[in-house]
């Protein structure tokens, strides 16, 4: 069982090599976003050291969208009928889904190492153990987001619908979080959803790890991210098992 889990993880992690151009563009986008937009906007806002705040936040947003890429992989695999092959293999279905969530998570973490290094270079590292603890939280976010992606694509069973819904979720989940702005500056109807948003907790945990301005309790954020990962992976297993068996991909 462990062998199969590692093989599924390995396969998803190796897929990273196939997306070289996508990753380079993503890194370039991150670099420009921080050095141009972040820098310019930091002169306009009252938050102290906003450039650092922004750089940490947008790294979490980048991690989120890279982790969500597993949903596009599954969507493409389904369109090529590749899902049937995976379902026919002598691998326990739960192992298959957990492996894909973990593989997708590790992959996104590896894929965002250059932006992470740039962020660390920009802000500086004050306490390595704390930074490692925060990074584990980010890894939990990656696993959870990959699980969310698997759940969505399994539920919708449609490449087009998946594209549209992920675009909509991306717009809301990033904006209704503390990725770009602190909760203190949000109206209550924004701050309430932001308080339960896993991206908020990941961003705050990362800022705490970097030793810059952060809101909330890091332990609580860690627990939220762990719960998010467990909930999304469980939902992913449930939906993948029930929805992917039976075909009907559109």
């Amino acid at each position: 069982m462990l062998d199969h889990l590692l093989l599924v993880i390995e396969r998803d992690v190796r897929m990273i090599i196939q997306y070289k151009l996508f990753l380079i563009i993503r890194w370039l986008w991150y670099f420009l976003q921080v050095t141009i937009f972040g820098l310019a906007i930091s002169y306009l806002v009252v938050v102290e050291n906003y450039l650092f705040y922004y750089a940490a936040g947008i790294y979490v947003a980048t991690l989120y969208s890279t982790a969500m890429f597993v949903a596009f992989d599954i969507s493409e695999e389904a369109e090529h009928g590749f899902v049937d092959y995976l379902l026919s293999l002598p691998i326990d279905r739960r192992v298959l889904i957990v492996g894909r969530a973990i593989g997708g998570g590790i992959r996104s973490f590896l894929a965002t190492i250059p932006p992470l290094l740039f962020t660390l270079y920009l802000i500086g590292v004050r306490d390595i153990p704390i930074l490692i603890e925060a990074s584990i939280g980010l890894l939990l976010l990656s696993f959870g987001v990959a699980g969310l992606g698997i759940s969505i694509v399994s539920f919708l069973k449609s490449g087009d619908k998946t594209d549209i819904l992920l675009g909509a979720i991306d717009a809301f989940i990033i904006r209704l979080s503390t990725v770009f702005y602190p909760k203190a500056f949000m109206p209550p109807f924004y701050s309430a959803p932001a308080a339960v948003n896993p991206l908020t907790h990941a961003a705050e945990l990362f800022r705490w790890g970097l030793g810059i301005q952060s809101e909330g309790d890091p332990i609580f954020s860690f627990i939220v991210l762990l719960a998010f990962m467990i909930a999304m992976t469980t939902t992913g297993i449930y939906l993948y098992e029930r929805r992917m068996e039976g075909g009907g991909w559109t």
Binding site: E77, H80, F82, P90
Partner: protein, 330 residues
Amino acid sequence: MTILQEIVFVVVNMDRDIAIKVVGLTKYYGKFLAVDHINLEIYDREIFGFLGPNGAGKSTTLLMLTTVLKPSEGTAYVYGYDIRKYPDKVRSLIGIAFQDPKLFWIHTPYEILIWHAKVCGYRGSKAREVVRDVLSMLNMWEARNKRAMELSGGMRKRVEIAKVFIQKPRVAIFDEPTAQIDVTGKHMIWDMIRGLRDEGSTIILATNELYEADILSDRIGIIYKGKIVAVGTPKELKDTIPGGDILEIQVEGGLSNGLLSRLEGYREVSKVELVDSTVKLYLNRVEELLPQILEDLIRNGVKVKSVNMREPTLDDVFMHYTGARLKEED
């Protein structure tokens, strides 16, 4: 389930000679009935041909057997394991080469098959060795590092079936294995399938190619509009057509009415026609009856100039059971 419980379960449920027992297996897609309460037994170490036109329900049945699709009703037992209750166990016994190759377009045959070999339990150099052997046998070693999207249809098909030859499962399923493959390649793959059977695998061969089904299958099941309409060895199926064999005997000077009546008197003969100097008999088991008929004619002073005999094809069998021609259906 403990190992002991599992052993007891298998012993209780497994008939020694039956590899797969299908019981009322049914699949609806919405309101469309794709597979209609199929009952079937496939014996251990046989090549079972699953013959039917496209859309008859072959692939859907196979996908249910491999636990890729969930049945709407009924079930099947693979070496005693219920596909509904023990899908993981069933998948450990079954391997399938799909009709449409399932290759992710960015991967190379070598990457695809190494990963597959590892999933099937090969490790390190053993995985590399088995992949090299199978790719070489399929004449695909040279193309091992091309991306799937750069391969021709026939090459993709070879990679797809390579998966099963690497896995060597107890039940190997080939869904139209030689579609898009050239004649030389077809013979090579047929030999490999026979070899796999000889090594101990039970083979299910889904095909709509009559010749392939005829020469390769120990038994054939004909599926039409989701139903199994006939099961038997190719010979048994052909013999079920009354007067299915045709025997043409050209004689010198024609035949007397008495001799014609004598020929009509054979139990296996359905009809006798005399056209000019050629007598045409519609019968069954021509290969057994031919010496007897010839002896009869010669004994009665008939000079035989030539003999031509034709067995019914599987297309005739298909026509007999369904009222349609397999070729027309496709």
